[in-house]
């Protein structure tokens, strides 16, 4: 187990380093830089900047340096004193901008994942155990609906309906009074009164998919002889199902935890824009269009890091759940 962990840690460090390099390279890929984008915006508004001024700015931000030098300055800043650079657009350190939004993202999407699992697993189990029952068909229909309706459309419908029925507008994650406050119980409550809608929206598509996966996995497991053995011992049926086939059917699901977060972040961009959520998605989108490179690079890198951590966590859970992996003796 220790060797497994050490090996994983080494590979994590290397992966994160590779991610930082690729993230930095990707944001440099589009032609031009922040200043060209900025210039275009200014001239669209009818303003003019002299070439000399531009050159001065470029030197100030060291945008003229070769790629590797820029990368080195950025990464060494991060390693030496956690300085991820500054956002050109916001004129503030990237760290200041990011933590709150990334925190919101993780919280929101973490809750969405929780809701997803809590709703999908029981339904999936029911649908498999009562195959071809009315409940199974209903679950399938709702599942397909959940998959087919785009998130942002669902968000719009939900916003419209709450406005028509309750006269409230959904949007944002906090009321103004709590916007900048520190976390506390009242703030958490405030958050939940706002967050339920985006959580539902974000969870639907995933729930539908999870129901289908759980149902399929469990149907496979239910046919296995060890289920009959468990039944032949005299266990009550619910215990037979939950302790044996469900337990085995969960394993492949656990390995999906790792990439859940980044998928949710990228798939939630539109929802976040529609519902005006202060999460990382819209910030990333904005920074990419304005070529705000340190901000974009940092967000991309942190998403990568989160994926790596998520994968590690899911591997650990998997090793804990499945002895065949833990003992490396699978046949």
């Amino acid at each position: 187990m220790l060797r497994f962990l050490v090996g994983r840690l080494i590979s994590i460090v290397l992966t994160v380093w590779a991610i930082s390099f690729v993230a930095f390279a990707i944001i440099q890929l589009p032609p031009g830089d922040y200043l060209t984008a900025y210039m275009a915006e200014l001239s669209a508004q009818g303003e003019r900047v002299s070439p000399a001024e531009l050159e001065a700015l470029r030197r100030q931000y060291s945008l003229g340096d070769p790629f590797l030098v820029q990368y080195w300055k950025w990464i060494s800043g991060i390693l030496a004193h956690g300085d991820f650079g500054s956002s050109f657009e916001w004129k503030r350190p990237v760290t200041e901008l990011i933590w709150g939004r990334l925190g919101n993202s993780i919280l929101l999407e973490g809750l969405a994942v929780l809701v997803m699992w809590l709703v999908a697993l029981p339904i999936g189990i029911y649908a498999a155990v009562r195959k071809y029952s009315l409940g199974d068909y209903l679950a399938t229909v709702f599942g397909f609906l959940g998959l087919a309706v785009p998130n942002f459309l669902f968000a719009l419908v939900l916003m419209y309906l709450t406005y028509v029925w309750f006269g409230t507008t959904l949007g944002g994650l906090f009321s103004p009074a709590f916007e900048r406050a520190h976390w506390s119980l009242p703030r958490l409550w405030d958050f939940l009164t706002y967050a339920w809608a985006p959580i539902i929206v974000l969870a639907t598509a995933g729930t539908a998919q999870l129901i289908r996966i759980m149902r399929a996995n469990l149907l496979d497991e239910l046919k296995k002889p060890y289920v009959t053995t468990a039944r032949s011992k005299g266990l009550p049926e619910w215990k037979v199902i939950v302790k044996y086939p469900v337990r085995v059917a969960l394993n492949p699901l656990v390995s999906t935890i790792g990439w859940l977060l980044p998928t949710l972040v990228s798939s939630s961009v539109i929802v976040s824009v529609v519902m005006n959520l202060p999460t990382a998605g819209p910030l990333l989108l904005r920074s990419l269009t304005s070529q705000d490179m340190y901000l974009a690079g940092t967000i991309i890198m942190l998403l990568g890091v989160l994926t790596v951590i998520g994968t590690l966590i899911s591997d650990l859970i998997l090793a804990w759940l499945d002895p065949r992996i833990r003992h490396g003796g699978a046949r």
Partner: protein, 346 residues
């Protein structure tokens, strides 16, 4: 019917049982049409027959372990544990408390494939402990002690450590021993073994058979043993029942049936093995020309009609009755039609 006295009433009596599988878009498949069996404490009844004849379905019906679409259409499964009232298992509900108290506790079962029949994600010890805590309410530590001594008794070396192993860490033979330990954990009155040695190599197969015989003597339990292998039957059975396409065609004392089989199907089976002693030539049984028809095409009368060399007028239309022949019984019209008796090759 006269009441049988306690002493010689059979432990399990399967009476005229029919088992059908329903399906939403087809006619029901009657997998088992007519089975009568009786099991006594300390005795082994072997159920033999070709693949698909309904051996497993019959055995699983005793504990309601068939798929959900299986229905026991007719008949009774009377279970009379020593000192207790007789219950008709066929009438019990699948997940009822009454049935769950019998499962594992009074009637235990072992299966063909010990690898897939044990949970891959629980230790062998946990799976055996569960049986003991479930039925006898022992504390986990006491249950584990019993588990270790059971593993020791079934010949698992290093039972302490083995109890903490997962099935994939054990050899096939050890896994089957663990299965047996689990089945015996609550000292069942009846052990059902569905081809417990078929998936094992010859040496291990012999060891497991010896172990089962030995344990049967110690525990005094009845055993319903399913196999393809007439050699195994000769080794382990007190009584034998031969099945063909859902019917028990001949049954009784194993020596009697082996020495003088009277049903044409049994006779053909016997001819298919040159000498029982030559273990190396044991094969799956498929000794007779033609193929087994599917249950859908089974004639109203004797199920063997389509392949029987002696088939005559009544065979296809009328079910033959149970007819005593010597020390056992068989179902064949040749045995009842006095005029034809001479033609049956003994």
């Amino acid at each position: 019917m006269p009441q049988t006295p306690m002493a010689d009433r059979p432990l399990l009596k399967i009476e005229d049982v029919e088992i059908a599988f329903s399906s939403p878009d087809e006619a029901d498949i009657v997998a088992v049409r007519q089975v009568d069996l009786a099991l006594s404490p300390g005795k082994t009844l072997c159920l033999v027959g070709e693949s698909g004849c309904g051996k497993s379905v019959t055995a699983r019906a005793v504990l309601h372990l068939n798929d959900q679409n299986a229905v026991i259409g007719r008949g009774r499964i009377l279970f009379s544990p020593p000192g207790e009232e007789t219950v008709d298992i066929a009438a019990l509900k699948s997940d009822s408390l009454a049935l769950r108290k019998i499962r594992g506790n009074q009637i235990a079962m072992i299966f063909q494939e010990p690898m897939s029949s044990l949970s891959p994600v629980h230790t062998v010890g946990d799976q055996i402990d569960e049986m003991i805590t479930l039925h006898e309410g022992l504390k986990p530590r006491e249950a584990r002690e019993r588990t270790v001594s059971l593993l020791d008794q079934v010949g698992v070396p290093g039972p302490h450590e083995r109890a903490n192993s997962y099935p994939f860490q054990l050899s096939g033979g050890l896994r089957q021993r663990a299965m047996i330990a689990m089945a015996l954990a609550c000292k069942p009155a009846l052990l059902i073994a569905d081809e417990p040695t078929t998936a094992l190599d010859m040496t291990t197969q012999a060891q497991i058979l010896d172990l089962l015989k030995e344990l049967q003597e110690d525990y005094g339990m009845a055993m319903l043993f399913i196999t393809h292998d007439l050699g195994v039957v000769a080794e382990i059975a007190d009584e034998v029942a031969v099945m063909y396409l859902g019917d028990v065609v001949e049954q009784g004392d194993v020596f009697d049936v082996f020495r003088a089989p009277r049903h044409p199907y049994t006779q053909a089976l016997m001819r298919s093995i040159p000498t029982i002693a030559r273990k190396k030539e044991r094969q799956r049984l498929s000794p007779i020309k033609g193929t087994v028809p599917s249950a859908k095409d089974r004639p109203e009368g004797c199920s063997f009609t389509s392949r029987c060399p002696y088939a005559f007028e009544p065979c296809a239309g009328t079910k033959p009755d149970r007819t005593p022949v010597g020390n056992h019984v068989a179902r064949c019209h040749l045995l009842t039609e006095g005029a034809r008796k001479a033609e049956v090759p003994a």
